[in-house]
């Protein structure tokens, strides 16, 4: 199963990004392949609708769970429609700390 954690940087020690649509990077974790990859967010400077574009990208990649700080209303609607689980974390944490929690 693929999980995405929004990230401020491209390493596991980076703090996770509390934004979804305008997050700097995405950390993609595939639990079947036990792989962690970082992708730059191409929509970070989009004029508007970054949330919807990113949500569509998640669906394209077959992501089933997204962990971020907050989701805008349009992103939320889209992710709900495509049955992608959304997780909101309010405290600060690094990407590796969140990865450890989902990997148990």
């Amino acid at each position: 199963m693929k999980t995405v954690i929004t990230s401020t940087g491209n390493t596991s020690e980076s703090a996770f990004d509390k934004r979804f649509g305008r997050a700097a990077w995405f950390c993609l974790y595939d639990d079947a392949l036990r792989q962690v990859e970082f992708y730059e967010n191409e929509y970070v400077n989009a004029a508007g609708g970054a949330g919807t574009k990113v949500a569509e990208k998640m669906v394209e990649l077959g992501v089933k769970k997204v962990i971020s700080g907050d989701f805008g209303p349009k992103a939320k609607d889209l992710l709900e429609k495509f049955q992608v689980q959304m997780v909101v974390v309010q405290e600060d944490a690094t990407v590796i700390q969140l990865l450890d929690k989902i990997r148990n």
């Binding site: 089933k64 769970k65 962990i67 992710l79 709900e80 049955q83 992608v84 689980q85 959304m86 997780v87 909101v88 974390v89 309010q90 405290e91 969140l98 929690k101 989902i102 148990n104």
Partner: protein, 139 residues
């Protein structure tokens, strides 16, 4: 104390907050509190005419549990009518597709798409989760 009941799936909450009788002499009795899942049970059995087996599957509970919830719904409504009490709809042990959950262990909040079957925290996998209703919503 009895263990916490399993959460019941409700497709949509009732479209009203309560029912009030009219044309009666004043009665000083408490409201009857109808739980969302009791409303749903009544709707599935007496409005959609589903059998107990299909209805219980829809709500994610056993057939016996469905029968109990349905019986409770009918008794409450009968009581409300006979004793001329107001009916008030109250949350109960329900969850809906749009319900978000709060993990009591790691404080993460998350949605629960239909595809997820086991009710665990999406972050730390704890089973200590509760639905976020308008009563306990913070921030």
């Amino acid at each position: 104390m009895a263990r916490t009941p399993r959460l019941r799936k409700v497709v949509a909450p009732p479209g009203f907050k309560g029912y009030k009788p009219y044309g009666h002499s004043p009665v000083d009795l408490d409201d009857v509190e109808l739980l969302y899942e009791e409303y749903e049970a009544l709707k599935l059995a007496d409005y959609d005419f589903l059998d107990h087996q299909s209805a219980s599957k829809l709500m994610g509970v056993s057939r016996a549990t469905f029968a109990r919830i349905y019986e409770s719904a009918r008794r409450k409504i009968a009581q409300a009518l006979v004793e001329i009490r107001d009916i008030k709809t109250v949350y109960g042990n329900a969850w809906m597709d749009k319900t978000w959950f709060l993990c009591k262990r790691c404080k993460a909040r998350f949605s629960m798409p239909e595809t997820i079957v086991n009710h665990k925290c999406a972050l730390c996998s704890s089973t200590n989760i509760e639905p976020i209703t308008s009563d306990n919503k913070i921030g």
